[in-house]
Symmetry: C2
Subunit: 120 residues, 2 copies
Amino acid sequence: MTPAATARSSRDLPHPAREEIRLEGVLHALSDPVRLRIVRVLAADSDELFSCSYFDLPVTKSTTTHHFRVLRESGVIRQVYRGTAKMNGLRRDDLDALFPGLLDALLAAATRQAARPAND
Amino acid sequence: MTPAATARSSRDLPHPAREEIRLEGVLHALSDPVRLRIVRVLAADSDELFSCSYFDLPVTKSTTTHHFRVLRESGVIRQVYRGTAKMNGLRRDDLDALFPGLLDALLAAATRQAARPAND
DNA sequence: CGACTCGTACGATAGACATCGTAGTACGGC
DNA sequence: GCCGTACTACGATGTCTATCGTACGAGTCG
């Protein structure tokens, strides 16, 4: 037995299985500006993992934790502990399998809006 | 000449201008199952207008009014009075101009999810 | 006019949510 | 073993939201 397969630490984070991911949940998760921002950063380098503290967000740490949890529970991101840090990555494979083209369209839309004259 | 062309009711409904439509708002509007359902029906025939009562929704009339207002205020649908009825249509032109491909990706995702084994 | 239909407005309510601060837990290094 | 760093858990709070019921306004048709 590989220890990895059975080593269920208390620091194990619950993720929804691919089939449990709901479109409504994903949309709700991305309808918050802070979370949308997080996802855009993660998407910029999909193969990389980023710690929570990597992000420069306009909210406190408690709130940051909350947002990351919403993203994880809705199935948008994957979180893994690595030492004291919690690494975050986009679940692009799952999302693309479930909803082909959606993530790209969403990211393109976000980029487009960010490029609009009047705002962030 | 049909009077219909000029018969504008005094009741005017406020819609956001194209540039005022926010991605977050659109996503939030579509993150509710009832509203997503409405949009899917509207999208099935984009050139047609449907009255509110056309939809068979699992909520009361008051709630239905509420959902249609959320959709209108977020810029997803357009509403026009026609006699006692209020006709609803998707703002596909504006959404496609702002976020090319997004609406189609969202609708495809919704269809795909609806076709999934376990649910609506 | 009067009745009927369609949708609105208003008020109430229960639940969700974004936000914060403080106190605490897990891990890695000294 | 002890300290600092990274994140969490918990509790509080104000706001938003989905829902309802009832009462009303606007338009159509007899």
